[in-house]
């Protein structure tokens, strides 16, 4: 009989190994799923995991999809380290897109100049930050559960986007489609690789990851966040105010999600506001944050893996006729297997002679 026995300290090798264990288990589970759906597993697995990245265009798409995931997940990870749960990145992303994109679609639609795109990025980040400030304020002032508030605000933000593109922001020359005007050329993300959709947002996201790594690993701020998460009482005695932690987490993660939103509408979405601008990046970023071990470098790698699941779903739909919903199931598998495997970080399996 096997028993779980608590380790005296979390196992560092296991912390590195479990994401790979989870990934391997998810691939196997994916094969079982494909078989259950009546598809031979090997061609389906190839179509899902390898087919999409066999071309330079595919590799560039991987980076395009990873960009919003990295930005959102870094913000969320900062919070998860401190035990603050911002679940509303999707809403903050949407509001960032609305405000940044609205600037180009409704105010500066015939403007030009290099100032335009930076201004939009700032506006989007500010909008995400303000939207995230609501759960932070309610949590610190009234003690309201931040999970539920940030989530409810996501539904509100999605409805706000829908109301705007169906109503006042609809393109007057757009044949009544629920879409805004196209942004002027200077209000779109510059492409950085010919023949692909790879844009400036990806290096920007990598830069954010680098800054986050420095801030978390090398400054007192990162230390404060870790203490707040691991030992809230100790953090209080050390003079780290829990309210300040909540504010910091929400403002940073909101701004990053908002930034991701503007990057999406000025980049891959195609330079206009449409009713749906994200296939759930803000939620999927939760998986990315955990799979990346709440560490900026891990998050970049995890974002690429999860980005592959989006491409794989699309590709498997085209070549194998699999429903695109397998993407969501695979993402669910990943997080489940990771959380299950994580037991090995804190516990070891020990064989006992008899019960």
């Amino acid at each position: 009989m096997w028993r779980l026995e608590q380790r005296s300290a979390p196992s560092v090798p296991m912390q590195v190994a479990t994401p790979f264990i989870a990934l391997a288990a998810s691939v196997i589970a994916g094969g079982v799923l494909f078989t259950a759906l009546g598809h031979p597993p090997l061609p389906a697995l190839y179509a899902f995991f390898i087919g999409p990245v066999t071309t330079s265009y595919g590799l560039a798409e991987l980076a395009v999809k990873a960009t919003p995931l990295i930005l959102c997940a870094i913000g969320l990870a900062i919070g998860f380290r401190a035990g603050v749960w911002n679940i509303g990145a999707e809403g903050q992303l949407t509001l960032g897109a609305v405000c940044g994109g609205g600037l180009a679609a409704m105010v500066f639609y015939d403007a030009s100049g290099v100032w335009l795109l930076p201004l939009m990025l700032l506006a989007g980040a500010a909008a995400g930050l303000l939207w995230a400030a609501i759960p932070a304020f309610l949590r610190t002032r009234f003690g309201v559960n931040e999970i539920l508030v940030s989530l409810m605000l996501t539904y509100v933000a999605l409805l706000a986007l829908s109301a705007l593109v169906h109503g006042p922001w609809r393109d007057p020359t757009g044949f009544n489609f629920p879409e805004s005007r196209f942004f002027p050329p200077d209000a779109t993300m510059p492409l950085i690789l010919a023949g692909t959709r790879l844009h400036l947002g990806f290096p920007l996201a990598l830069l954010v990851a680098l800054i986050a790594w420095y801030a978390l690993a090398r400054t007192i701020l990162g230390f404060q966040l870790d203490v707040a998460g691991l030992a809230p009482r100790a953090a209080r005695f050390a003079g780290f105010h829990p309210e300040r932690t909540v504010w910091l987490v929400f403002l940073v993660s909101g701004a990053l999600a908002g930034l991701a939103g503007v990057i999406e509408v000025t980049g891959p979405v195609g330079g206009q506001l449409v009713p749906v601008i994200s296939p759930g990046y803000g939620f999927t970023a939760i998986i990315v944050a955990f799979l990346g071990r709440l560490h900026p470098v891990g998050i970049v790698l995890a974002a690429l893996v999860v980005a592959l699941s989006y491409l794989g779903g699309e590709n498997a739909q085209i070549t194998e006729g699999l429903p695109q919903a397998v993407t969501g199931v695979f993402q669910g598998f990943l997080l489940f297997f990771l959380l299950a495997a994580d037991v090995l970080v804190r516990f070891r399996l020990r064989r006992v002679a008899h019960a």
């Binding site: 003690g143 199931v329 993402q331 669910g332 959380l339």
Partner: protein
């Protein structure tokens, strides 16, 4: 001045709209009373909804469909139980994972059921009662699940306060060390509570797909699972207050529908659709600002893992 007959039918729709929230929130209440916080209600509802719909379409039997929905919700909850109770993973993270997984799984299972019509659960005609003017429309023109949902309120309250196992369940939620010391098996009791919560969420989802709007649409729960979680806080973990809360939220969502249809206000429909979510935030804020009292009502071991040394 609103016509009395219209008012009666509005009140009847409020009761119907409250039913999925009532099921899901009652289940979560029992789960939380045992000390487990399962944030996967939305995912369990969705899988319950799609399973119930698929079984109802295939077998032609709505009641078997609802049972299937309950079973599917319970299975989802047991998955959560294995992770959080046996493997002691973080409950918040696992609950979120359950919702993400449930959204994906329900979309996959429902892929071939989109757009298929289904005759919804019939309204029961209760001899003598349904024909009472007004009252008959409001109270006695519903399907079986509506009555079952209401009946679950006193049953849950009685179970938690008047039965031996209800008291044991609460003891496990308030102080698992003490309950363990007294010889009660903390983990199996929590498994039972989690499975019950999942089955109830599954029925709540099933109500949506086979009775309320008999069809399957991806993510058709539209956040009701999260509102159910908020309702448990609203009710301060008391079943009767939960009933009140469910009707309040049912009322808000119906108000929004009528305001859209009747163009009571000159605002876009999306703005009115925000009402239930905004109402949830307002209610949570009002409750939380009274501070300690609401906090004291929460089970003391809520969200804490238990590992028998």
């Amino acid at each position: 001045m609103m016509d009395a007959a219209i008012l009666a039918s509005v009140l009847a729709t409020v009761i119907a709209a409250a039913t999925p929230l009532l099921f899901a929130a009652l289940g979560e209440l029992v789960t939380e009373k045992s000390g487990v916080l399962n944030l996967g209600v939305e995912g369990m509802m969705l899988v319950g909804a799609v399973t119930a719909f698929a079984i109802a379409v295939v077998t032609g039997n709505l009641h078997v469909g609802v049972l299937g929905g309950a079973l599917a919700g319970a299975l989802m909850a047991l998955l959560f139980g294995v992770l959080t109770l046996t493997l002691m993973a973080n409950q918040v993270a696992c609950g979120l994972a359950l919702t993400i997984f449930g959204i994906g799984l329900s979309a996959l299972l429902g892929d071939s059921f989109v757009g298929i019509p289904l005759d919804g659960l019939p309204e029961l005609d209760i001899a003598g009662l349904t024909d009472i003017p007004m009252l008959g429309t409001v109270l006695f023109s519903h399907d079986l699940l509506v009555y079952l949902g209401i009946a679950m309120v006193p049953l849950t309250a009685l179970f938690l306060t008047r039965t031996r196992w209800g008291l044991v369940l609460r003891a496990v939620g308030e102080n698992h060390e003490a309950a363990h010391g007294l010889g009660y098996s903390v983990i199996p009791i929590r498994y039972a509570a989690v499975a019950f919560g999942g089955a109830m969420a599954g029925i709540g989802g099933a109500y949506l797909s086979v009775a309320y709007t008999p069809m399957w649409v991806e993510e058709m729960t539209a956040g009701r699972g999260w509102i159910a979680l908020a309702l448990v806080v609203f009710a301060a973990w008391r079943p009767w207050r939960l009933l009140l809360g469910a009707y309040l939220f049912g009322g808000v969502s119906i108000l929004q529908l009528y305001a859209q249809g009747g163009a009571l206000f000159d605002v876009p429909s999306q703005v009115l659709a925000m009402l239930p979510y905004l109402a949830t935030i307002v209610v949570l804020t009002v409750l939380s600002s009274r501070g300690v009292r609401a906090l004291l009502a929460a089970p003391a071991c809520l969200g804490k893992p238990f590992h028998a040394a």
